[in-house]
Symmetry: none
């Protein structure tokens, strides 16, 4: 490898690296202060540069949000596609999707927070139309999955499908607001517990802690 080639690679890599670095910083700040309430200067301060300097790397504040969100969504959907293509039954698919969702939160926590809090407003702009498309696709995926689960006898038939969908969707994504990567519980730990709650409920019963004299029956 010639020094020249190494140089070029280093430069290209460095550029991409700087971009990613700045985006990570911006995502963090947008997530914690809110996109609309965050000034470009605050992002720049957090990155240790001046406000105007961000515009060397990005076209606009909107462009930053765009890149943050689309990177997250692309990554998340890639993971979802792998799961959906695996030919699992509804129950196992749901488990895998939930696990992948928490892993997405783990990898893109600030982006998920932004998605959660701002996508409704952002989606009114042409540039963020893909947020609506993602939302539609997401809803379709979940409704299909839940209906299939009911047909397969894996999920209850007495619950409103639309409600179940919102219930799971909201609960998973909103967790990004408090999840801390590297904390006491890993993303997979949390996924496991959430699945237990989703699937079996928080109520004590025989099949969970098999013992006579369960309070529910008293």
């Amino acid at each position: 490898m010639s020094p020249r080639r190494r140089d070029t690679e280093g430069t290209a890599a460095a550029r991409a690296g700087r971009r990613a670095e700045l985006l990570a910083t911006a995502a963090e700040v947008f997530a914690s202060r809110g996109y609309a309430a965050t000034t470009v200067r605050e992002v720049a301060d957090a990155a240790g540069i001046l406000g105007g300097s961000l515009y060397y790397h990005f076209d606009s504040k909107e462009a930053m949000a765009d890149e943050i969100l689309s990177t997250f969504l692309d990554d998340m959907w890639a993971a979802y596609e792998r799961v959906l293509g695996a030919g699992l039954n509804a129950r196992d698919t749901l488990e895998a999707i939930v696990v992948e969702s928490f892993r997405s939160i783990d990898r893109h926590r600030p982006a998920v927070v932004i998605y959660q809090n701002e996508s409704k407003h952002l989606a009114t702009s042409e540039r963020f139309r893909y947020l609506n498309e993602s939302r539609r696709r997401f809803q379709e995926m979940w409704l299909n999955l839940l209906e299939r689960g009911v047909r397969e006898g894996a999920f209850r038939a007495d619950l409103d499908a639309g409600l179940m969908y919102r219930f799971i969707r909201d609960t998973v994504w909103v967790a990004a607001n408090w999840y801390e990567p590297g904390g006491r519980l890993s993303a997979d730990d949390i996924a496991k517990q959430y699945l237990a709650m989703f699937l079996e409920g928080i109520q004590a019963n025989g099949s969970q802690e098999p013992e006579p004299g369960d309070a529910r029956t008293s």
Copy 2:
């Protein structure tokens, strides 16, 4: 009753009515556009007056948010207190609290949305310190309730209490984002379905539709 007195009363009542009217409008607009992204002029436009005229009724934009949120929280806590003072067991208390939460959403939907989306940022200001206090009180109430439920044998002991707390809290409040008062499902309907999901899970099993050979036990 002199005409004068009646006049004064009428004026006072009218003033209070106008205030409430404007607050309702402001809450709607804050909820749909986001507090930070909403301009005072947008609120005024929605109310059919000019921007400056709002300052006859309110000291500031912050004061509007303050009144919207504290009105909602006062009302919600009053309902919670009634439940907590009723001497119910943990399981019934949980059901009643969830029901009251959805009723709060029904009565204060825009305020709940604002609370959900903005309280984290607003709470950094002195004026909104009570948001943090409410949050602490809320968390304490739930953790106590869940622990009591475990002791009473009503709730599973194998789940992380903190996780259960967040699970229920988030799921209930975030519903304000899509709930439409007067829609297909009433607040009480939704509460009932949510409770079914929380307590029993979405998975088909014997305790819900008792049948031998349930997949879970095989």
Copy 3:
């Protein structure tokens, strides 16, 4: 006339008056410093208010330029139409058009300067498309007029029509750069002298001293 009515009229008139006042100030500043090089604050300073206050009256800097230019063009074309509809021969029409042009300069000097210096750049924006239309219409009018004059035997046939058109057009409008309303020479004085130069040339010769059989009197 009731005081009420007078009040309303006064308010409406005052509003229109303020607008016109600010536009006149803006036109002056744009004309003297150049549109692009003029800051909104400079316009505001000249008007004795703060930069942001201009935005109560106008949507944008561009909107000011727009209103300045379109007001001028509307007024000018109205005057031209009166002339063109009067059924004069080419020679008299040319004189009247030139006179009206200098009167337009007299009434809208700063606007004419802006038109002269900035219309080429402004016209690239959608909003100022009418500048190009006006230019096209202007050119058509002049070429028709000059050709008609040649047919009527009033103007020389040995000169390039396009060149004649540009010659007159440029020379008239560029005069806005130095013309001072209320100066030594009135707009009509200057028009008369310019017509003498256009029509007869600056060269001394016999045809300028009236003699029988002059084409102008035929």
Copy 4:
């Protein structure tokens, strides 16, 4: 001649060539977009380099305009001096000056456009004081020439000298805005036609159509 010397010469020549190239590009862009409205990056883009790289060649944006304008003015005045030193009568001097002016436009079209549009604003800066001097010298030259022409019986005495001066000055220079080098009419063609208009007017009369004893043919 050593390779070294040749190299140095080549480099020096190349540098001067690159400079001239960049200046020509800059002049073109300044002329078409307006000096104030043109960004250094636009100039650099047009030259195929990055914005910062221009600063290897020039100290500042102002320095580019300076060099563009002074090069043009030096060249133009050199041509004027040759004419003025030739001992011609007023009439022939005027013709020669006009011809040289159109040749200057031919050689320096973008510079003339910049001069026309921006010199008023630029001249307020110390660095461009020479623009005012050139203007004064220009005016003096023309007024002297016109007055001499009147004394020599070549030009009409019934026209305002100041007006005649502005008339010719404006009309000639403003032509740079539409003149295209290499177009249908050469600079000398246009000069000839303009002189015909200036001197004889556009009005048809007997003296323009060749007849015995015509002053033009004598």
